[in-house]
Symmetry: C2
């Protein structure tokens, strides 16, 4: 049997602190009595924890306010509350987004306002060591004026299969040299602060939940389009994740068993229809059959064959290109429909765009 969470006063305080911090973040500006009503905690408890958070400067008190009681004539009474809000400046967070073609590093405050942003192009075929060096350089710059005490931690978004427990990037389709790289430990050692890693495609869902306080008991299905298709499911406030991070591979879901062979060994996988390379291949095939003449002309004019070009032609009324786009929708629709049957989500979010990686 694994060790589970045990109950002690530590558990109580983390649970309640989070609850209160969350409540203030969502309702701010707000005040102690309101927080108590919302969370179900008693006023005395809220006072204690709020004072604690005030002394840590994670919350701050705002002076002015008017009484909350009122009647139909607009008469107000009662002691005016002391308003609370999150002191965004109390902490700093560094976010590192590794993508096949670039690294993006942001320094944010507690409310995830971006204070500083850097972007640097990389070659997706580089050695991981070199790329990590670049990440460290950018992170170092972001942290130049940050007190280490103030730094909450570093979050890293990775484009591929990860092992969450070990903090390892197992593999990445678009970055072939990355194989079992223990990136969390490397960064943690170099930066000397706690580092967390997560799979890129899931982070949109995490943010969605964070920014929407009513999300706790809903189920959201989020599809992320990029070079391929990823799926994330936020279920009752929890992100569905496998131990090894292998989940979310909707791209290799079979949507047409008579379809083309896929790299994965399957036949008719979703990605044989909706990935950037599949779309381009499909267009090339049609050009070969003498269709999509518009595309051919554009290419002779020096333009690259890219998904967005096909879409542009489709919008302009090119029948053949429109058919390609329509097919993408059809297969995406089948996949989404299947997911809806399985999860009965309260909402489906599609984000990103189908891009090529050089």
């Amino acid at each position: 049997m694994d060790k589970a969470q045990i109950g002690n006063s530590d558990l109580i305080s983390t649970v309640n602190s989070r609850l209160i911090l969350q409540a203030v973040r969502v309702m701010q500006p707000t005040y102690r009595a309101s927080v108590a009503r919302q969370t179900g905690l008693k006023p005395a408890t809220v006072t204690g924890i709020v004072n604690d958070l005030l002394s840590q400067q994670i919350l701050s008190e705002v002076p002015a306010a008017t009484p909350t009681g009122s009647d139909e004539s607009g008469t107000r009474w009662g002691r005016p509350p002391l308003m609370l809000q999150v002191n965004a400046d109390a902490k700093r967070i560094v976010a590192i987004d590794l993508e096949p073609d670039r690294i993006r590093v942001a320094l944010t405050d507690l409310l995830v306002n971006v204070l500083n942003y850097q972007e640097q192009a990389i070659d997706r075929f580089s050695e991981p060591e070199a790329i990590i060096k670049t990440m460290l350089k950018l992170a170092g710059r972001a942290l130049e004026d940050v007190d280490r005490q103030q730094l909450q931690g570093v979050g890293v978004s990775l484009p591929g299969l990860i092992d969450r427990e070990a903090g390892v990037l197992i593999s990445s389709t678009n970055m072939p040299k990355w194989r079992d790289v223990p990136i969390r430990d490397i960064l943690q050692k170099e930066l000397g602060v706690p580092v967390q890693v997560e799979r890129s495609i899931h982070l949109a869902a995490v943010y969605e939940k964070w920014s929407d306080p009513n999300h706790a008991h809903r189920t959201t299905l989020m599809l992320t389009l990029r070079t391929g298709v990823g799926i994330s499911i936020m279920h009752h406030g929890h992100l569905l994740t496998g131990r090894r991070g292998f989940e979310g591979e909707i791209g290799h879901t079979v949507v047409d068993l008579n379809g083309k062979a896929c790299e994965c060994g399957g036949k008719g996988c979703l990605e044989t229809f909706v990935s950037a390379s599949a779309i381009v291949a499909r267009a090339a095939e049609m050009i070969h059959q003498g269709k999509c003449q518009g595309l051919l002309t554009a290419m002779r004019g020096g333009t690259d064959l890219r998904p967005e070009l096909i879409y542009k032609f489709a919008k302009r009324g090119d029948r053949d290109c429109a058919r390609i786009v329509q097919e993408i929708g059809k297969y995406l629709g089948i996949a989404i429909g299947n997911m809806i049957n399985l999860f009965a989500p309260d909402e489906v979010v599609i984000c990103g765009s189908i891009d090529m990686v050089e």
Copy 2:
């Protein structure tokens, strides 16, 4: 914002009691010091909670035991532990399984040993009121010799879509008269004890987790075959369930977009290939085409056309019937493969059998 679990001493005690009870159940017979090591709780804490559980008679102490310490020569030392085990007789549970063609009621003890079992055939077209009356009759009989104090509660397994929060059976394919029946509240009122409802197809997964202590951090995909196909996912110890209980509908996942129209409005749903009625229809179609002559002969002999008959012929070497069975496997395989891509489960369990309902 919804009200979340707040932290107070109640939380601590429930968390720790459950932890300890669970540990004892899994390791029994065991002893306090071992429980403390396993759970991470301190010995004094375990003593306190165990004594509490002993006084409630949920646990019992077994006298004999030998010292636990030992060296290579087999020498043993130390104070011999007081062994603990779950006192299965402390509580009684009533389990009611409603199926389209029968009601099954069991009285069990805390370890889910069946003490008493009753089964009664029902007509799936009956009014819900009549069926509930039968359920109450059987439950009443099961409870005849049970002290109400001893009764932990009643669990009901329902064959269809449920609303867990409301305890309502929303609809059931095989029991057309059941529409939005608030069965939990009805039973609760009549029996005067807490009633919980769950969807039948998911309960195999729940039991699987309960009976396997190492299950907490695994992901299991469980397919349940009956008149159709249901899927349950046990993920990190939690059953994936939607608020309205609409999930698990893998049967209406599209596996062949050129397939037949399905009742649900889709085309090529899994259930158009692997449900009992679909299989029979497929065989009838083949007979019409002059195939499956063996089946035809059997049917002229008065045998009903049922899935198991087709399977019997397939096993005997009937080529056409074998093809039907093979097709079932093919489509089931696609659906399962897709699920594996999505969830990367640690294991896939297929249970049940494809049955007809009269």
